[in-house]
Point group: C2
Chain length 339, copies 2
DNA sequence: TTGTACGCGTTATCAC
DNA sequence: GTGATAACGCGTACAA
């Protein structure tokens, strides 16, 4: 068992003082060449590395950033985390990931665990429960303590901080526009009530696009399903009830289900019905037929969030100016739409 | 801006010594009730929380565990991380996630970043490059320093430490057995050379199952594709060349591709060809037809790894006994196979 | 019952 | 050139 070596050990062994060792290892001019060489050689031999914790305590900088997301198995969040990680790492920061599991309490606990010195700043996306409760005191506390915070995707107006969001309305708008251009008239929207602000944005985009194309919005063509359970029955009934030639879904799982039901009914995709889904994830890419999707660019989002945060962390000045960065979503065309 | 309060502040404000404050906040018997109450009230009022870094430095315990995985966008790793996180969190540990991106250098750098005091132990799955290089000195260094390490999934014999692996051979065996039971005779295996030990295990299972069922292994029915690029052409040619009534794929993306090609050729799934894929991820679940899959139980794996690690961290005794936990894979039957 | 002193590992300032 | 000292924030053995 190799012992971990500290400045103190080196000092004792080489019969010099701790501060001499410290300086020598930093190549300080104050120390004579021979002492430096002696010390550096010894340090190298025993593989000396400064203790991060001690350094953190000293400069009140941990070089860690805390990331709190509702769920990591969700592809979108995964890509964001990846983006955060990549950028942060390139700047010498580590990423501590905590999951709120959509729970308010877990979110609060995780924040508190990390806020007491473990991290230099937070990047987070709000838990659903937090949004429903509309209680942001834990965030307020953090920002009041001067800990930098960047919110992404699921954000709130009630907290002043840097934010990164996606232009969801625009995404839905583009998608519907595309469908109309393809000659579709009876365009359905499959959404969920639970989706909070995001669901609303997407629905708005859908409505606006139809309106701008001179198509009256038919409320019967908007199907709102409960978030969690997918039942094919509801979708099947919907198709039986309404005549539909295109479907926009607020996420790819809905899109997969609605496409499957259509295929089962013997409809051809994209000839009879076209499909577009939000969130360009694994499913959209590998499904058959593959899904045209509105890409959220999670990785880019993560990088930007990371960049904003680290900039705030490293800027000495306490400017109280916050930005909101808007990522443009893009349409990735695949087999489920024409052309 | 609310200042962060320390023991020192409280002591100064209340005109007592720092240690009195420290003891009072721990409800020590030594301190009189009134002083305790005074101090506790003050601490509560100003929302005092001990500084994690200082505590870490003191007890040489960070309550952080380092996780290094090749990729987080890969569904399997994501589920493992989730399992790790859940268990670790329940024990008061935070999880620092680093991505090696399949690169040896990144793996080494990340380990070194974390090893100098930032974490109490590691959980990791080897980068592909590391496996190819067959260089495990960084792991050796860690274990020699007495830092607990748990390897999962992509492990190596060359390092003595706790491990969690999946019984891949058994998984492939079960899958093939199932196909044979369904009356299939010409069972193909679509695999990849890059998959190292894991690919080998799966191939072995495939071979053994066939042999045990009295079917001679036809080497022409084993298609080995390059890891990264999927080209439908190769699979299509394969189908044209060989007659096949069932396919086992070493991961779900291959399964999706090979199923898509079959469907395009007008084959019926599962009537004409059955499909089984490794890794029970999002794709298998939501595809149409949905894929029968060999579940890897990533989340459980993560939990076990986490449990093993924390046990090692918290056990005082330095026993040098290491376990290898084997997770049994299970077959999740869906639409791509009969019954 | 309260306070002093020291140590965790590092760094920075100041004295010799 | 080198070393002693203090400080980061906390906890604890020991002294008062």
């Amino acid at each position: 068992m190799k012992k971990v070596i500290t400045l103190k050990h080196i000092a004792r062994e080489l019969e010099v003082s701790i501060s001499t060792v410290s300086k020598a290892l930093k190549n300080s001019e104050e120390i004579s060449r021979e002492t430096k060489e002696r010390i550096q050689a010894y340090a190298k031999l025993y593989n000396y590395r400064p203790n991060n914790i001690a350094v953190s305590l000293k400069n009140k900088r941990t070089k860690n950033i805390g990331v709190i997301v509702p769920d990591i198995v969700h592809h979108f969040f995964t890509t964001v985390v990846r983006g955060i990680e990549t950028y942060a790492n390139s700047k010498g920061y580590n990423v501590i990931v905590c999951l709120s599991d959509e729970s308010f309490d877990k979110e609060v606990i995780n924040m508190e665990m990390l806020a007491n010195g473990s991290i230099d700043g937070f990047i987070m996306s709000l838990a659903m429960e937090t949004q429903l409760k509309n209680d942001y005191n834990h965030l307020k506390e953090i920002t009041e303590q001067g800990i930098p915070l960047v919110l992404f995707d699921r954000v709130t107006d009630q907290i002043e901080c840097d934010k990164v969001v996606i232009n969801d309305r625009e995404g839905a708008y583009m998608a519907v526009k595309k469908l109309v251009e393809n000659g579709r008239k009876k365009i359905a929207l499959i959404t969920t009530d639970n989706y909070l602000s995001i669901g609303k944005e997407r629905t708005d985009g859908y409505r606006n696009a139809l309106r701008d194309c001179g198509i009256t919005v038919n409320e019967n063509l908007i199907l709102s399903l409960p978030q969690m359970r997918m039942d094919e029955g509801a979708i099947s009934d919907f198709y039986d009830r309404e005549e539909v030639d295109a479907v926009l879904c607020v996420h790819e799982i809905f899109a997969m289900y609605s496409m499957r039901v259509a295929l089962k009914k013997g409809l051809k995709v994209p000839e009879d019905v076209e499909f577009i889904g939000f969130t360009d994830g694994i499913l959209s890419k590998y499904a058959y037929p593959s899904l045209t999707a509105i890409a959220q660019h999670g990785e880019k989002m993560g990088e930007i969030a990371s960049e904003m945060l680290i900039e705030k962390i490293e800027s000495e000045k306490e400017e109280e100016t916050y930005r909101t960065e808007v990522i443009q979503s893009t349409l990735v065309e695949r087999e489920s739409t024409l052309n």
